[in-house]
Amino acid sequence: MKVKIGLFDFAGCEGCQLTVMNLEEELLQVLQLVEIVEFRELMSERAEQIEIAFVEGSICRPGDRERLQQIRDRSQILVALGSCADNGGVNALGSDRTPEVLRQQVYGSQLPHLYTETPQPLSAVVKVDYRIPGCPIDGREFLAVLQALLLKQQPELPSFAVCVECKLAEYPCSFDYGQVCLGPITRAGCRAICIDGGGHCRGCRGLIDNPRTSPYHRILEQYGLSIDEILDQYRTFNIGEQESGK
């Protein structure tokens, strides 16, 4: 009997679901073990009961809350897929302004009844059993979490920082290029892909469990970078958790 899984989305770019689709070869193998019973982007079918629900996106509207609650009600396990679902992600970037102000800025005064709330992670509405962080998620991590769940194990995320994966891959350090990098305090699991691409870490996978903030601040000072610069970067994907970064 194949395990029934569903993929759902709320406010987001669908990039995490697409990452699952992009597993291609592995996806075919996964389909030997699981049955995708609901995936609006690619399927017309609907399902009543779901064993594992993967949910992308943040919650912005009352209708979202109800739909998420319904998904929770018919799912045994609910996994937050990607930063938007995990902590609000980029959607929360406007948290410093009220939704009304944002609406005014984009639509003017012409859509008075367009109602949204400050984007929230899934956990603000329902119990989230597990999370796969990242913007977008890493396909291999999705597979690892799915594997663990299929084996009735607790999925585990790396507890170490992106720096580890960066050093293992022998990438040049972003700080040496004068770039603010969140690698030292951000949870690994992405194989330092942004640093591989010549950029720096913007912390899309969130903080490690035990971020060493005080040494980190010292290093920033050493490189002549300000706390504001780093917070600006940190806020890109983590505005919901901003306080803990201070």
Binding site: L18, E25, L28, L31, L42, L102, Q110, T116, P136, D196
Partner: protein, 428 residues
């Protein structure tokens, strides 16, 4: 008696939408494509951000066309800050765009359209009956993703792109390997052409205007001149003179129209305005598929997409050869940004024209952003097509009606995740 048909949660499209049809005494009185994708106010989110962060954030508008958003954003900022992009980087950007078009088109063709024509609810349903078809679909999609991976670092939200070009370049070995993979995909593409040649496409015709970037010696992709099938053209920087966004009185959506009204963008529009510049192989495929070039039958969009896939694969081979032949002496700008000012750029995203326009203050922070996405421009066309198609379908059972209308909407491959400001809510 008035009746309201609501097709909730259209499936196999990118993003969320409902279709609402109102009829009275057998006549259609209203038809709305309700986009219920949550507004995320990206243009507002960008305000106050430093120019070096804008592209990374705005890529998150859409996972499906994140490369187009990234490139349009970078090009708009480069125009504003007067940053030059070296030729090798421009080549790499073209290659990256080709990769996105290939993977996006194949996703739409196989995963969203094929089930309609083979009578399945999803491609996964065909896994047992036609495993080779599903495998081929995944193999081909992989090819597009591989281009994005090698050039952009990953298929979604590229990590190698930056203002002025690229922050890292592919290794020669990787390009050679990619070339081999592209060549190896040709038999699969051939089989795909055969598959799509067999489908029976619904007959439908409505006159329309097609707008795309001008084929400036090359099939439209990146460029600075807009062109219309009506014969008009203008500079991309002046897109607001050609295209205006407007609100429908009965609805709350921002749509776009040209001076002549609704228009289409995307594969069909590009083929109509630039068919002469298709690659030799693509031209042959267009012929084999009997692609009609007027673009008046939206169902033919599928054929146009497949033709573009062939074109992009063939062009990618040429670009790779050029990169291998001349090397990549410089992939990043060495000019100093002139901070402050405004810039506009347009790229041909898989679904059509994508505009980004930014204004920067002297401190390098973004003051004003405007993004016009392809689907916003096609929305009026979709509604116009539905209105024309509906009377023929009204007597059919709702399930069939739904299927037919969904097929039409899917033919446009609307991407509603791109909800920068494409919002239409019916809370009634």
């Amino acid at each position: 008696m008035s009746q309201r048909i609501k097709l909730d949660y259209l499936t196999r499209i990118e993003g969320h939408a409902h279709l609402v049809i109102e009829r009275k005494a057998g006549k259609v009185t209203g038809c709305r494509l309700e986009v219920v994708e949550t507004p995320r106010f990206f243009e507002a989110l960008l305000q106050g951000r430093h120019y070096s962060d804008v592209a990374t954030i705005v890529a998150r508008v859409c996972g499906v066309c994140s490369i187009s958003h990234t490139l349009a954003s970078l090009m708009a900022t480069e125009a504003a800050l007067k940053i030059e992009v070296p030729p090798a980087a421009q080549l790499l950007r073209r290659l990256l765009s080709y990769g996105e078009i290939v993977q996006s088109h194949l996703l739409q063709l196989y995963f969203m359209a094929v089930p309609d024509y083979l009578g399945a609810a999803s491609l996964f349903q065909l896994l047992d009956a036609q495993p080779e078809l599903v495998r081929r679909a995944l193999r081909l999609k992989r090819v597009g993703n591989r281009i994005c991976e090698v050039i952009g670092g990953r298929p979604i939200h590229p990590v190698t792109t930056c203002l002025g070009g690229f922050s890292t370049k592919p290794e020669v070995g990787q390009l050679k390997q990619l070339r081999q993979e592209l060549v190896a995909s040709l038999p699969d593409l051939e089989a795909t052409v055969e598959l799509f040649a067999e489908f029976e496409y619904p007959q439908f015709s409505r006159q329309r205007e097609a707008i795309s970037l001008q084929a400036n010696g090359r099939y439209p992709l990146h460029g600075s001149i807009l062109t219309s099938s009506s014969g008009e053209s203008c500079s991309v920087a002046d897109y607001r003179t050609q295209i205006e966004e407007y609100l429908l009185p009965h609805s709350t959506a921002k749509l776009a129209r040209s001076r002549s009204g609704s228009y289409m963008v995307g594969a069909q529009a590009r083929v109509r305005n630039g068919a002469g510049h298709l690659s030799p192989m693509a031209k042959k495929v267009a012929e084999a598929l009997q692609l009609e070039q007027s673009g008046n039958n939206p169902f033919e969009n599928l054929k146009a997409r497949l033709v573009e896939v062939i074109h992009c694969i063939e062009e990618s081979l040429h670009v790779i050869d050029e990169l291998l032949l001349h090397g990549m002496p410089r992939i990043n700008s060495n000019s100093t940004p002139v901070v402050g000012g405004s810039g506009t750029a347009a790229v041909e995203a898989p679904r059509g024209l994508l505009f980004h326009r930014y204004e920067y203050a002297a401190d390098g922070l973004l003051q004003q952003a405007d993004c016009v996405i392809p689907t916003a421009q096609n929305l009026a066309s979709i509604e116009a097509d539905i209105q024309l198609l509906l009377p023929q379908l009204l007597d059919q059972p709702e399930e069939l009606l739904r299927q037919q209308l969904e097929m039409l909407i899917r033919a446009y491959d609307p991407c509603l995740s791109c909800s920068t400001h494409l919002v239409k809510l019916d809370l009634a």
